[in-house]
Symmetry: D3
């Protein structure tokens, strides 16, 4: 099986981290292909950058999904998820969507740790868009950007552990989801210091993508996820135009 | 006052209709500038086209909003609304958002008429994203594309009137919102045949944009709508790069 | 255009303040008429006073709305809003309703500052009745009554600014609504010290009333906001009886 | 025990019916006092009449509640409930509130039968205001006014039975609440023809009022239901003024 | 009237306390029969113990309900409520359900005091299952098990009073529900120190059971609460088998 | 990997069907062990039977889960899910829970087909308990019991296909979940006749159980899913007593 990881950030650093974590998480025999956005923000961190990256996700999947069995949106805002899901014939999951739904099966209400006050509302809107707002026990937000740098980040680790434990102690969280593509691999390292399961969204994303691919359910032929057909687009990437069966004048 | 109408469809036909309706609706002294998308779908009608158009909206407002006092997203999915609102220093309203919030002040639950079964879920998600799902009395969807053609469309008019009256009779709607940029100007024509107010989203959008511009509230300096600063983007339209204070390598 | 401000408190002091703020906010050419309740509480601050004032609002609008193009309920509980909206042929908005809906277009979740612990539940019920509970980031309540006195109130100003900033810092509010008719004019003064927009409900109310009046939508002929007809009432103010087309025996 | 039934309609006919049903329902030793509004609508059926009747309820309870152990609002919109509950030292229940909460203990989702399309939204808002919207299976509305006339009304009975059975068959209602003060006594008569319990709101109201009176819980000393104190009102009924400890100038 | 109190804990201590409180609360002429579980947890305090006790409740009511006019589930998780309600021909109420619904009639939002952090999520799920989550002002949890011991527990009393007052002060609770069968009788003792009503769930349960019994509504003949008929069960208590009209092979 | 399928019905027929479908669905190397309840209903179809089966699930998993890597509750009411999840050190998923969460990743709103009007409310309560009520597009219920008989059931197949297509056509469902353990294997057969994915809950359950087992997240040490410890139970199955570290007197 071949799974495409789509990072619509335009920074290879995170792609490398995510791909490594995905490979470690994947089943034997699953191949991970990871691609990085070619236009837009280095690290998506604002609403307008997210809007640009919606397009980038479509361009990336139009070009790179052929030959893949499933796709994981490896941006923690699940940027472009619904559009890609519609466009492609193979399953598409968002990393945060997969993390949240997996957490639901671990029982109880979910505590979320996010990075950056500024983007907290985006995560709240994302969770609400999945209809899962009532499953949330609470939110904690950390400001550190240390995770983007090289090497370990013990201080950040301590902050994350502190936030997770506070969610358990004060908000009665029964599972913690650690958001952010750059956090791939971190939950396993911190798990011993947190008394409830900590979900790694990349791990969940890869695993759920494998699961959906194996279910081999058909592409919808009706509704808003049916393949777009007979559409006319202009001045888009040839790979996008090809998906729409259109010359992309 | 100068208001920018942003049509991220790449079809001038709708832009012309919307601009005419907007000019008819605007206050004396309000100038309407209308722009059309340069890439993406002729008429946005799928999730992936919507994703591409999110970027298009950002590109359009980055280039054309300077010198304007407010912006109306003149695509009925309010495509790119949150990103544009963040990016710009002037108010931005979505036409459907404005239609819904205006309808709220007319009292009671809202009936919505949409075009095309396929996109109904997008509207449901849009309304839910505004926290207004509980204000909805019901939905009706029509399949006609007659409105995009030239001349009148009396048969479609009859269908719309029928749908609106059915929302009143069976779902107890107390106000009707007619979605779709191409519907600009239609509500006034059909109003006599519907016993509750029918809201024209372009009219509501232009009026609410004027209202917000006159309030002259400051741009947020905190939170997810504060101006993005110190961001690094690559290969984006120079107008976008300029808004981010970045060379857009 | 002529807009009626209805203050169903029986105290002229607030009416004067509100009217001045409304005149400052209104468009050129808009005339503001402000009326004060003739029976009931000096300052509505309890549930039973609010119940009495529901009647008072009806009596005031029945008598004073003729000749006006729109009505603003200038009591922050929007007392009598739904009844007045039904009774009159012109648009009626509640000041808090208008403030909340306007805030919705500024983006994100709303922080509310209210006065008096005792009435906080009334505001919570009011916001919920508009279907907007999910848009609320948090509440702060202040106990000061300084605003009703003459002159400035710098200490209260500091408390309001503190509450607003706390809503931003701890509850991630992206816009603040300052409730209370007596607060008319205050948001503009405090805005420089708050990093997100602060909405003045009287300003929003007057502007939205103007907007609705200009839309010139018809009075509903069906549903719960259609004009009451063929009703029989006893011992009510002749102005009310006249509206119901009844002699008011 | 003495229970006050408050009918803020100004029509004795309904008062008589309600009082008879209440007496039949009450425990041995419970005395029923029933009072009728002195101003406002003969039969409340519109939003503005409801607003006037909010005041009427306060006036009636201020005058007649002394000496009573509990109060039942015998208008099916529970008009003035929250204000009366605040004002009085004894329990106050709304007939529809009591019917709904009693129905909750019978299990499952509730079907509601209401009279008059026009007022359906008022009932929907009322149920939502109690936080019980999710308990509703469905609504049916009948237009007959036969119940206000003398004698039996077999045709209306058939319509009610039909509506109730339809709620069971199509909406999976597991209990039916029949709204309307004038319906007092009807559920018992129709029960044999409906396969789920049919709740009589007057019966539920009287029984719940007795229950609350026997609990003998103290009047709140904090919050929005604490007794209003030190308030200043003008030109209100002396009985109201007396309750507020004020001369009612 | 004879009311059965079902304690599916297997500890007589709590049964005795609950029965005493129930007898003190019941109307003259109401006889209280109290039974204790014969298998499962001494004191239900975990999810798996609760699952076992669901069965225990069915066994207890199958055996002991005959001859009773109503049943109160005297375990604060309302264990087995829905099953018992279906199985029996007489009304069944849960003590916490009754406490919450009674609290709803006292007005405003409800503060809940629970015992043991571990079980807080069970209470949250219980309240949500009744559709009452929006009526909750806040939760407080205490860890003391002193209430299970003999004699008074003044320290615990102080903690409860502190929690209740904190719910009023910080979460604007307008009524407090004290959960836990072992708390029967405690609210009356602590009421003087709390400024809003404190509901005793056993008292509420007994009173609501009496009320429902007196309503004498018929057993549903349709829906999920109709009597199970023609069912086949194996290896169950003969009393259960008898209820199902089956030999319990 | 070894997965335990728990059928707390006391009928081997369904166990056999479910086990066969589970084996067909499982990954290579996954062994399926399936157990059947020893007491309670042949086919759980009422609330009281469900309550008894809650206990049965606990008894089954206490006895049979040792040596397994994950558990699937193979009763479509997910009977005993939360208790088993708490009790065991390995992941436990409910078949309907897994079907719903998997459906969430296929996009859009979910249509559910259930068997038997009587149990529809149980499914509605189950979905609501997962916080997923807003993801539901609609419900259809069929009365056939043909699936429990031997051989094919083409008429039932046609009914299911009809219900699924009606959910798509009228309720805009974008994915269909077919409930009922006895339906294992049916979705694959009917999929060609339904234009959106049809989820097989047993397949989803087995796959999600595998996924969770491979994640190897630790057992919670805090909260309501931590292992029960130091508990005292009486007269329970020795296997249950052993899990609680107690002699089960």
């Amino acid at each position: 099986m071949r799974i495409l990881l789509v990072n619509s950030n335009t920074s290879d650093v995170v792609t490398g981290k995510v791909a490594a974590a995905a490979r470690a998480a994947a089943s034997p025999g699953t191949e991970i292909a990871a691609v990085t956005g070619t236009f837009g923000a280095r690290v998506i961190g604002t609403r307008s950058e997210h809007a640009i990256a919606e397009h980038s996700t479509i361009a990336l999947v139009a070009k790179h999904a052929p030959g893949c069995d499933a796709v994981v949106i490896a941006v923690s805002y699940d940027t472009g998820l619904r559009g890609a899901r519609e466009l492609l014939g193979v399953p598409v999951v968002g990393m945060t969507e997969a993390g949240l739904l997996t957490a639901c099966m671990l029982g109880g209400r979910i505590g979320l740790v996010t990075f950056g006050r500024r983007v907290l509302p985006l995560y709240q809107e994302l969770v609400a868009s999945y209809g899962l707002a009532d499953r949330v026990a609470g939110w904690r937000t950390l400001e550190s950007t240390a995770a983007y740098g090289p090497g370990g980040h013990p201080e950040l680790d301590r902050e994350i552990v502190g936030a997770a434990n506070d969610l358990v102690a004060r908000d009665f969280a029964e599972v913690v989801v650690l958001t952010g593509a750059v956090m791939a691999g971190v939950p396993a390292r911190l798990q011993p210091d947190v008394p409830v399961p900590v979900v790694d969204c990349i791990v969940a994303g890869v695993r759920q993508a494998e699961l959906l691919a194996r279910l081999a359910l058909p592409k919808p032929r009706a509704g808003s996820y049916a393949p777009p057909a007979g559409r006319e687009l202009v001045d888009v990437d040839p790979a996008i135009a090809a998906r729409f069966g259109d010359a992309g004048q």
